[in-house]
């Protein structure tokens, strides 16, 4: 999920002299950042996993996006409003680069290869982000819990090129990601197993159809 862009070539010679970036590490459970209006932060996840989550006034949690290595996130992608408190939480130990978008998008005058490559590639990275978000919307506009589960599995399966795969999220998190009630999702999963459409052993899903 999120933008995927192979930064590996740059990570190892990462040496942004320009002071326009902050690099921080977090341990599991820590808050990486909270989205703030008008700051326009853009963050790059160098390793680990983080979730962008929203809690509503009833305490319901929504996992808006789930980010892995080399994904991009930050308030630059959001219209931040009062009704809309967005928090990025570390799901595992992780390291994150923090830029301010207006500084990042300019070419860096201090000959910083990482930064300059990034700003050049920004348009294609954003286009990738758009397609990811449209896929997310397609997932959320599935009509019922079953269709959401099946589409989610199908997406992972296609990405991995395999009919069998490990879930990258816990089932509790998956429910919050699909925006459905956890027990309703469990019930539907059980039915899918009983009907022989899906096999599930622990965290491993196998699609049995087609």
């Amino acid at each position: 999920m999120g933008i995927s862009f192979d930064l590996n070539n740059f990570i190892y010679d990462f040496s942004c002299n320009c002071k326009k970036v902050q690099k921080k590490s977090f341990s599991k459970g820590q808050t990486v950042t909270t989205y703030i209006k008008n700051r326009n932060q853009l963050c790059i996840l160098l390793n680990g996993h983080v979730d962008l989550v929203r809690y509503d006034s009833n305490g319901n949690r929504t996992i808006v996006e789930h980010f892995s290595k080399n994904d991009f996130f930050g308030e630059v992608f959001y219209k931040v409003t009062v009704n809309n408190e967005l928090i990025v939480e570390a799901k595992s130990a992780c390291t994150v680069l923090f830029y301010i978008y207006d500084e990042l998008k300019e070419q860096c005058d201090t000959d910083c290869k990482f930064h300059n490559t990034l700003s050049e590639r920004l348009p294609e990275l954003m286009l990738d982000k758009i397609t990811e978000l449209n896929t997310r919307i397609e997932l959320l506009t599935q009509r019922n819990t079953r269709d959401k589960i099946l589409m989610y599995f199908s997406l992972i399966s296609t990405r991995k090129q395999k009919k069998s795969f490990e879930l990258p999220l816990s089932l509790t998190d998956l429910a919050d990601y699909l925006n459905v009630n956890r027990s309703a999702m469990m019930r539907e999963l059980k039915l899918l197993k009983e009907e022989g459409l899906v096999d599930k052993i622990g965290n491993r899903i196998t699609l049995l159809y087609k």
Copy 2:
């Protein structure tokens, strides 16, 4: 909804000599385009209204996005799959520019101001698109029909800077846009009226709270 970018300055002196663009007009109800893999079309709506819609195998219709003047759409923003037939339908008479993204993003060698301005501004246009899509996701991740309705009204109200506004969609279309059953939505609207939270006279909504 969609990207908003003031093209007015360019529309009137629109004279793309570069043959990289097609301009077509449609009447209400016509199909503007169907998303096709690997073509990477990018379209600009010059006037009128169009909907990006998806029909599932049960005949359910989802309005994925609703576009107005100067909005952008096209398959360049999508991972087009077999499960995912996307159609753009004209909701009113409209005129559309059709580009192929790879041609558009290059500067135009034939001194075409419109085209060149567009390709320069592409990054900011895409960033706008991302924030629009994230707002769409926030709407779709509301927990129930009531919350979707209220958030939708709140978005329109904020955009118009008024507590009272005309709905830009029919109620039938609004249900397909919010991804809820029409009669369930009507029931909820009725309750909102009875509870004095919202007033509704024909197509005009007035928010009575706060």
